[in-house]
Each structure stands twice: as C-alpha cells, then as structure tokens.
Point group: D2
Chain length 256, copies 4
C-alpha cells in the first residue's frame, strides 16, 4: 500500500494520459497507469516517473471486458491505496466514417469504451469515494461531445452521451464531495499513440511539421496536464464542471 | 401496396406517437403504427384512423431485438409502400433513479432503445430514402438530451448521445434530401401509455387534475402533432433541425 | 379600426418581413408594415397584399429614434386594432468588420436596433397583450446570436444579448399568455433589401446564380413565412421558444 | 514605471476583483486596481498588497463615462507599465426586476457597464497587446450570460451579449496571442461590495450564516482567484475560453 494518495489513469498512453500521470506523480501522488496494450510503452512511463523521483505502477487491461473496470478498482483500492483522483481518458475516435462505413459493431464499441465504461467507473468508485468524503473524476473528452459532425456518428453519439452522464453524475455526487469535470480537447493533440495511430506515421509527421515543433499549434499533453492538475485541486467553494482546451492558433468548434 | 406515401411510427402509443399517426393519416399518408405491446391499443388506433377515413396498419415488435428494425423496414417498404416519413418515438425514461438504483442493464437498455435503435433505423432507411431523393426522420426527444440531471444517468446518457447522432446524421444526409429534426418535449405529456405507466394511475390522475383538463399545462399530443406535421413539410430551403416544446405555463429547463 | 386581428411587422422589406406580412394577410390578419425607408417598396408590398384580397397599411419609421416604437404601438392600437402578433424583424448585420473597423458608433447602433429596440417593444406592448390575455412576439435572428465569430463583434454582441432577452421575457410572460419565439436563420436569405444591399448587386447576383433559382440553397422568405405562421398558431399546450432555419444544402453553424 | 508586468483590474472591490489583484500581486505582478467609489476600500486593498510584499496602485473611475476607459489604459501604459493581464470584472446585476420595474435607463446602463465597456477595453488595449505579441483578457461573468431568467431582462441581455463579444474577440485575437477567457460564476459570491450591497446587510448576513463560514457554500473570492491565475498562465498550446465556477453544494444552472 502506498502512503500517498492514488491517482488512477484509465487510458495512459504517450499523450494526455501519460503526462497527467507524470504531473500527479511529480506532485506527490502514487499513480496507477492503465492501458490496453503496449507493455513496453507502459514500462517506459513508469520508469520516467520513477526517474523523476515519483512512484507509479501499471496494468494492461481491456476496459470493455466484463468486470475489468470493477476488478481493477478493487485491486487498486486493496493493494495500492485509496483512489483520490481518477482520470477517465478513454476515447473512441475512429476517424471520419460515413454512415455506410460505420458498422453496428463500431457504434456499440464507441459506447462501451466511453459512455458505459465511465458509468461502470462511477458505479464502482463513487460509493467508495463518497464514504471517504469525496474524490475527483476527470474526464477527457472531445469536440464531438458538443455537436455531431459528418463522419462522427459513432463517436459523437458515444461521447455526447458521456457528457450528459457527467452532468447527471455531477447533479448527484457534487454535494457528496465528488468533483466531476468534463475537459474537452477541441484540437489535435501531440499524441503518437492515438492521433498518430489514427493518421498513420506519414500524415502524423506532416501534421507535426506543420503545427508542432515550436509552433504550439497542437495541444501539448505536458502543458495541458497543468490544467488537469489545477482542476483536481480547486477549492470546493469554486469548482469547475467543464473546460475547453485548444491552442491559440485554432478556431473553436463554434467558429469556422 | 398503398398508393399513398407511408409514414412509419416507431413507438405508437396513445400519446405523441398515436396522435402523429392520426394527423399524418388525416392528411393523406398511409400510416404504419409500431409498438412493443398492447394489441388492443394498437387496434383501437387503427380503427380510429379508419373511422376518420384514413388508412393504417400495425405491428407489435420489440425494437431492441436483433433484426427487428431492419426486417420491419424491409417489410414495410416491400408490402406497404415507400417510407417517406419515419417518426422515431422510442424513449427510455425510467423515472428518477439514483446511481445506486441504476443497473448496468438499465443503462444499456436505455442506449439500445434510443441511440442504437435510431442508428439502426438510419443505417437501414437512409440509403433507401437517399436513392429516392429524400425523406424525413423525426425524433421525439426530451429535456435530458440537453443536460444531465439528478436521477437521469441512464436516460440522459442515452438520449444526449442520440441528439449528437441526429446532428451527425444531419451533417451527412441533409444535402442528400433527408430532413432530420430533433423535437424535444420539455414538459410532462398527456400520455397514459408512457407517463401514465411511469407514475401509476393515482399520481398520473393527480397530475391531470392539476395541469390538464382545460388548463393546458401538460403537452397535448393531438396539438403537438401539428408541429410534427409542419416540420415534415417545410420547404427544403427552410428546414428546422431542432424544436423545443412545452406548455405556456411551464418554465424551460434553463430556468428554475 | 380593422375588425381583423393585427399583425405588426417591424422591418418589412422584400425578404422575411414582407413575406411574413403577406402570409398573415392571406390568412386573415390586418397587417401593419413598418420599415425605415423606401416608400415605393412599402407601397408595392401593400398593393400586393390588397391584390391578393388582404388588407395592410404601412409606416416609414426609424425605430431607434426616441418614442418611435412607443408611438407606433399606441397609434396602431388606437387606429388599426389590437396587435395580436408582432414580428420583430430588425437586424444589425453590418458585414464582417475587424475590431479596428468596428466603431463605437456601430457597436451602439447594433445594440439600439436589436436588443434595445426589442426591449422597448416588450415594455410597451407586453402589458397591453397581457391585459388581453395574450399575444405573440416573434423575433427573427441569426447565427451570431448563438456564437461570436470573427468580424461579428457588434452583431454578435447585439443579437446574442437579444436572445437572452427573449429568454428573460419568456420566463416572465409565457405564463401570462404571451408566446415569444426566437427564430434564427442560419444561412443566407433571398432578401434584396438586406443581403442584397450588404453585398452589392454584383455579388448578390452571383450568390443567387450559385445557390438560388431552383437550387433552394438560400432561404426563400415566402417559404419560411409558413413556419412563422405555424409558430404563431401553436396551441398553448405546445409552444416552441426557439427554431433554427437553413436550407437542406447548408451545414449548421456547429459544423464546418 | 514598474519593472513588473502589469495586471489591471477593472472592478476591484472586496470580492473577486480585489482577490484576483492580491493573487497576481503575490505572484509578481504590479497590480492596478480600479473601482468606481470607496477610496477607503481601495486604499485598504493596496495596503494589504503592500503588506504582503507586493506592489499596487489604484484609481477611482466611472467606467461608463466617455474616455474613462481609454484614458485609463493610456495612463497605465505610460506611467505604470505594459498591461499584460486585464481582468474585466464589471457586472450589472440589478437584482430581479419585473419587466415593469426595468427602466430603459437600467437596460442601457447594464449594456454600457458590461458589453460596451468590454468592447471599449478591447478596442483600446488589443492593438497594444497585439503589437507586443500578446496578452490576457479575463472576463468575470455570471449565469445570466448563459440563459435569460425571470427578472433578468437587463442583466441577461447585457452579459449574454458580452459573452458573444468574447467569442468574437477570441476568433480574431487568439491567433494574435491574446488569450480571452469568459469565467462565469454560477452561484452567490462572498462579496460584501456587490452581493452584500444588493441584498442589504441583514439578508447578506443571513446568507453567510447559511452557506459560508466553513460550509463553503458560496464562492470564496480568494479561492477562485487561483483559477483566474491559472487560466492567465496556461501554455498557448492549451488555452481555455470558458470556465464555469460554483461551490460543490450548488446545482448548476442547467439543473433545478
């Protein structure tokens, strides 16, 4: 058992998940990093955190499997320590797909990975947090939670529903000391594991050349992690329930 | 085969579904009424429509079953006529339930009945409509599509996602002549089959006494059917994608 | 005094204002058409209405002048008949202007023509309508009421404020029988007096060639007038407070 | 001239304005505090800041007067130093007033103090900031910017318009390095100068007894100042344009 407060990251890749993990570890949390695959990447994250003087552990886990989330939470609570902060960082961006190219399977998968998985986290963890007097549930989201768009049938339905779930959870749990914040990223992220994989190496590198590398035109995970940390430490007289994030050079979704 | 254009109603109870069916039948549509149960109620609706000089047929069907929606659409297209208008009138209001009282099963059921079922309708019907140059998809929705609320975990996640799905469908299909409109009812409805069943006879009667019976303080299905019909017949240079509905005596959800 | 109910149109040019006037006149209203200038255009509108068997009168009036609105309402109420419907159709679209090119004068003018002018209408007319048991206030608005955009500093501030005013008015007046509806047009309109003047003849003609003339890619005022009329005649158990309008071929403001 | 960066606070009372001033002063800014009246209160704020080792200066000024804002900015830029951050903290909450009790004068005053005053700040300061490569404009706002409510005719129209102005400014200025953030407080604030004056001593004390004093049920200005500071220091790859703030124990405006 760690004596530190625990920060659990669901979806701890090389983008926002990993960097939020590092930030919390630097600030004194024991961080539990969970991702579906890539044990090498997971171990590198843990090594980075430990090299910086922090503590972390990791799990490989497919969140949509029955009992995966429930068992994980029990395991962490029993063996690592009380979860004070959970970052729900699972997304379901399948890229733009026409209605024809969006199968029932993908539509369901999107829902299982985002809306239903968050519901499972909340069902399992909220009563535990509540019994302790509080906790933090941070949810990384995206523009499709705010409005549907062409090609986003599965994604928008999944994360748009999740946004409403966040509000429902907040309406019940805020008074019980549980701070829920929906943080939506309204721009491409420097995230090789997700955007990189979606675009492929060549397109991703082109995007980096055009917008990153000192231009700060893509969201830099290390930088946005500061805002995640800030939100998780707002005084309870002044909580924020929704935050939008984009680089200075990107127009918001409501512009064009 | 009917020579009339077909209006298909999914969720044709004694409330909005049935009354929209009557309205379209009165205006010259052949109406196909679909509901999960209550063959007697279904037959009464058909008899009413025929007594008024219209034509209608009916089906009992559980929409969440595999192939139920897909087979229905094929059946109607093959045996009754081309579907010009579909009213998606399935909801998933389970009443207010705390997080503790909202089971995984209910959460999934909500999604299957609203978001996924609409997706299945669109996947199946949109290509057919598109090949004919257009069609109308009207979706009855509720306040929980606009914001989550205490006790609405399953409902808000389900229909909030469905609202984003409507916007995604619209972004792809509008240009192809398919008009999608999200009509959300922001007040109790005079609907014995849904609100009546949810509240129970006594509470529902009390609500009627307080707000209905000449006071017009609940949404009257026969009246709101006029707006459904109007939306379905807007000229394509002036389409509406979202409409809110409430009685004059109700404050909107954004007030209190 | 007319024996018909009166429909007062503020901003009765050759676009939406004039066509809503024609529609209401055709349906049995005495229509009072008010615009700032162009007596010839005003007289042609009246002649059109009378040729179709309706009745109408007109006024030239600069709404932002002190007492102009107040005196107009008194005049119409005293000399033409009780105002049952008012269409507030004044806008303040100055075209896209950078912050540098947006003067204090324009910023104030935008507010006076839209937000403050509607407030003056409501202050003057709502007590009269209320004493009669009700009335209708329809407000034509635009996309900038929903979100600010580059170049829209004056316009968005003016009509964004007006939208919130509509909601405040609704919160107080709906229960008193006054139906307020904010109808926002999210696309270019076939309106020679407004869009035509803003763009100039050449650009406007180019737009018409590209999008109008059978393509239905601009909002056709005659067609959208049907929706204005429908809203004004919704049963009080099923009122709508906001409607968006765009052609089938235009993406909504929330897409891009 | 200060060698520190300057933080200019418009509306520096004993609530959010004063506490944001203290926070920025503590963090190394020279803070210029501006308010309409109460020289004693202003001097106490400055003394507090200086006692904590910071530097501050003050001005008494009626922002709605011609040239007041323009001259102030020139004065600060010329005599105190380059303004890096401006907090626009002027509001126009007149309490709930029926339409009848909302005069034209109040309606206009609301607009002058919020929407027009911010426009004047942006017209004057944005070109200066832009020439320096950037700056920060933080705007304190309230729930009425999100939706109109009964009694909020003047307030909602004023600050709803201001919110759209923030978005228009952002659409033009963000790319030029100017970060605009609309921070809306969705709950009562422990602010004797504003809420205290609005409610009167007795009611305000009652509210404090019920919600403050360790209960954290009102927004504590000192605490929310942390979020203002955080927003002003977000990396430009990860800016936030809107933030909501309320205590854990308050339901958001979209709930009831």
């Amino acid at each position: 058992m760690s004596e530190k407060p625990v920060c659990l990251i669901l979806g701890a890749g090389a983008g926002i998940g990993g960097h939020v993990g590092k930030k919390f570890a630097n600030e004194g949390y024991h961080t539990v990093l969970v991702r579906r695959s890539d044990e090498g990447g997971l171990n590198r994250l843990i090594a980075d955190i430990e090299a910086a003087g922090g503590t972390a552990s990791g799990r490989l886990l497919n969140a949509i499997e029955d009992n995966a989330i429930e068992d994980l939470i029990a395991d962490v609570e029993n063996n690592e320590g009380p979860i004070e902060v959970v970052l729900f960082n699972l997304g379901a961006q399948f890229g733009d797909r026409t209605l024809e190219d969006t199968s029932y399977k993908i539509f369901e998968l999107g829902w299982r990975m985002t809306s239903f998985a968050l519901f499972r986290v909340a069902k399992t963890l909220a009563p535990i947090m509540q019994a302790r007097g509080g906790g933090k549930i941070l949810v990384t989201s995206a523009t499709s939670a705010m409005r549907g768009n062409a090609g986003q049938h599965a994604h928008a339905a999944a994360i748009g529903g999740r946004r409403m779930l966040c509000q429902s959870l907040n309406a019940e749990l805020s008074i019980k000391g549980i701070h829920i914040c929906h943080i939506y990223i309204d721009a491409p992220i420097e995230a090789p594991d997700t955007l990189g994989r979606l675009l492929g190496d060549e397109l991703y590198q082109k995007l980096l050349d055009e917008k990153a590398n000192g231009k700060d035109g893509m969201v830099i995970p290390e930088k946005v992690a500061e805002t995640y940390y800030h939100i998780a430490h707002q005084h309870r007289s002044a909580w924020t329930s929704e935050v939008d994030i984009r680089p200075f050079s990107e127009q918001p979704w409501w512009n064009n």
